[in-house]
Symmetry: C2
Subunit: 215 residues, 2 copies
């Protein structure tokens, strides 16, 4: 019964995601769905991006509780809208749609949907995004792709974050990359540090290319 | 509808959890339900514990995919049983009950149920355990308790792991402790490092005390 209901829920979610996508394309937005474990550095990455993009960076940020992330992002110069799910472990297309009704978004810019910190549940809920982004911190271990294939099969880009910690942790970046390619041979892998700002040029270039390819 | 079904599922789960608990008490097991983000170091903590406890340490370890964790634990000297949930983002009492039917457990010892790496969903599923343990790595950030209160309200002990990384990360352990105490003023907080082995004496002493208090 649980599985049947889950298929029903997914199918309703897909319909709303489709409506979201139509809206995104109408106003020329590039939309990313950013998924990771808690504490991999999603908000810190967005803070660094806000230094370049300012109010051209829009973030819908999901948390079970608190609006700490939206506060941080506004302080960093971005436009941010907080969704508090109050218990739900992933965002749904419908939550995003409700946010879009009140969140003032500039056409032809970038919207990042920062999902709930969770490597499992958010992976299978389409929100209408153009691409899914996985973030993994070097402190988390390099076996994440094989342990959580649902996300790493779907993510078009993987940000290996906190590379400044590489000297202090047991993390084999080649192993992670090789496992990612096995799941998705077209995935792009970026190495980033929000401390040293390493890797952000290449990452931002990639986003401009994706935006261009959407026309 | 989703919420109503969730209450039904929780109630069935609680019944099975109660049966599990009766079994644990009959054979004098102390049972921990260990919950954290992916990559906080749950398996590494258990590897260190296995150095002292050997086959007195039993672990039922849950993952969405792979049996890497069970392999690591057996290599470290513990007895381990892997549950692969194949998609489910948390263990249920029923999954644990099925494992108990085939997993050979020595009476009057310790069983740790290493839950799926996820700070949200596992928090509300009782497995029949005596205590819930939260693990947070210093690389994850100190705001986890207020962002994920469902877990930190229920956990009787919090292990702040990877304290060897403290010099390299922005992590305020006093803030984390203060937020934990606000949610649960009886919580015990332990600082551990699987690299330096710091904190494990105190942590193991605590487990002996809990075991004793169960009679």
């Amino acid at each position: 019964m649980e599985q049947k209901l889950d298929i029903q829920i997914q199918s309703i979610n897909d319909e709303v995601a489709y409506q979201n996508r139509q809206y995104f394309d109408q106003i020329g937005l590039l939309v990313l769905n950013m998924i990771s474990s808690p504490g991999s550095g999603k908000t810190s990455i967005l803070e660094v991006m806000a230094q370049t993009l300012g109010k051209k960076l829009h973030v819908i940020t999901g948390d079970v509780q608190t609006d700490l992330d939206a506060e941080r992002l506004v302080k960093a110069g971005a436009k941010a809208f907080q969704i508090q799910t109050g218990g739900s472990c992933h965002l749904t297309a419908s939550m995003v749609q409700k946010a879009l009704r009140v969140f003032d978004i500039e056409p032809n810019s970038l919207l990042v949907i920062e999902n709930i910190g969770n490597l499992v549940c958010p992976s299978t809920y389409n929100l209408g995004e153009h691409i899914k982004i996985a973030v993994v911190s070097t402190a988390e271990g390099d076996e994440k792709p094989i342990k959580y294939p649902a996300l790493f099969t779907r993510a078009q880009a993987v940000l290996v974050n906190k590379i400044d910690l590489l000297p202090y942790v047991a993390f084999n970046i080649d192993r992670l990359a090789s496992d990612c390619y096995k799941l998705n041979n077209k995935v792009r892998i970026f190495k980033t540090s929000c401390v040293t700002k390493e890797g952000f040029g290449e990452w931002m270039d990639f986003l401009y290319q994706v935006k261009k390819s959407l026309g």
